[in-house]
Symmetry: C2
Subunit: 299 residues, 2 copies
């Protein structure tokens, strides 16, 4: 359930982000997903975002657990930062009951962490096909079954779930929910205040139904998280770490953001890039570039 | 417009395929796409298929041109082999008029080659986004524009075009037609005897609309070519050469073939696998394995 382990070089100057703030505050809606600058510790992330005027962050469970959940919540809230999303729950597609029960338990913990952090949404990556299994329809059905238990429980904890559609190239091994439309079909089994959808431009940009599905999500109050990264080729081996810096690829990111706005979404736009080239650089430099690229290609 | 150049080792015994025919004839509908055993010359392909009882082959323009078009047609017809498809035309998405005119010229030559070979279908891979372009809708529109000229011309030469949907992971650099439904939307602008669609399980297996779109294609007489390969992960760098041998991956290939049958398709099922591991082996061994796997996972 974690990103693969990739060596992260120690940045030359870990506090660099605080030394050279950008010339003007970051765009108000920009949220920085912590994996974009995974070389930063949580305190570095908080310091770097504060210095750069970034007011919102997306967090991941593992680094939060490493730093300590309570400490993380205090650090982030103390700095006045909002948490747009926590990544991630999900992985509901196992065929054995014990595995699904374990997944449900883990997701309950993820809900509690989301509540403690005051995050807007717990992002769900639904899971791929179990080994040797070829039944996509069955796997999608099992997601709905687990959500029947998880969604009301999360709602009782004040946490809304967001089903994320992942690119079809991840359908077998990570997420059998491949389009925003499929994510909405699942979400609509539940009240809108319990289950929404996550629209990540990287995963759904190719889909001609995207504009209509964004409207469908937004107008029904189910668009709970919006993320951006760019699509660049050639894809690397394993394809997971091939996301591009904003503007380096071929996604019409501004058009995507405008479609999201047209659907009535007014929340943060989270920059989530998994890219070893960015991880090898000074975090402050990366954040300045992200802010600049966001202005030029998204805002 | 060609597959990337990958070193192909010289098989230890180039006539090996003729030495150990399988115990029973190959399934009647099995067609061998020539790129699956790209280490074979065209004469080796013809000899190997004949020995193994494979009655249908899918050809590629470049090896046919290298051997000579007329000679290839005579060799294949002389052995009593049928040609299920010629790969490939397309690449219609350029923004400059000169580029599109050149593409149209090249596609007219591809039509002539298809006619000379007596192939059922000229497969079209539509093309990706031009460099720096982010307009998927525009690119899809340009495909239709070129087809308005090419389709009647091909029809006058007795050649039917088949629009192939490629997996969305190829949307930016190879083919902006990402689903069978999109391919059908384009094909339906033209008479069914002029333009159909190609359904390759590898590209469309993840799509929950696939069963309905296969029916739509088959019942309207537009399903002109069916191809199979399996989906295996992790995907290799560049993703093009990651196709898996039948049964090695997670596609329900038998279910796919049954859906194709239910749609009324009665033509060949072409095995098209781009896989360096297969290219490094003795071609006859690979063909025997393909036949065995086809029996166990497709037929």
């Amino acid at each position: 359930m974690t990103l693969p382990s990739v060596p992260v070089p120690t940045p030359a100057r870990s506090a660099a982000a605080t030394q050279a703030p950008p010339q003007s505050p970051a765009p108000a809606r920009l949220s920085l997903n912590q994996e974009t600058i995974r070389q930063w510790s949580l305190p570095e992330l908080v310091a770097g975002c504060t210095a750069a005027g970034v007011r919102t962050v997306g967090l991941w469970r593992e680094p939060v657990q490493r730093y300590g959940l309570r400490k993380s919540a205090q650090l982030v809230a103390g700095a006045g930062l909002r948490v747009s999303s926590l990544c991630r729950g999900g992985f509901f597609t196992g065929t054995d009951r014990a595995g699904r029960a374990a997944a449900l338990d883990d997701n309950r913990r993820a809900v509690e962490e989301t509540a403690e952090l005051g995050a807007d949404t717990l992002v769900l990556v639904s899971g791929g096909l179990p080994p040797g299994d070829r039944d996509l329809v069955g796997a999608r059905g099992r997601i709905a079954e687990v959500l029947c238990e998880l969604a009301p429980w999360a709602s009782a904890h004040g946490v809304r779930l967001g089903i994320e559609a992942l690119h079809p190239m991840f359908a077998s091994d990570r997420c059998v929910v491949s389009t925003l439309g499929q994510a909405l079909d699942l979400a609509e089994l539940f009240p809108a205040e319990q289950v929404g959808v996550v629209a990540d431009a990287y995963h759904v940009w190719w889909d001609e139904r995207l504009p209509v599905d964004l409207l469908r999500a937004g107008k029904s109050g189910r668009l709970v998280s919006v993320q951006v990264a760019d699509w660049v080729t050639p894809l690397p081996e394993g394809v997971l770490l091939g996301r591009g810096q904003l503007g380096d690829g071929c996604i019409d990111l501004r058009g995507f953001r405008e479609a999201v706005d047209a659907a009535g979404y007014r929340g943060p736009v989270e920059v989530e890039i998994f890219q070893p080239d960015l991880w090898a650089r000074d975090g402050g430099d990366v954040l300045r570039e992200v802010i600049d690229r966001y202005r030029r290609h998204v805002a």
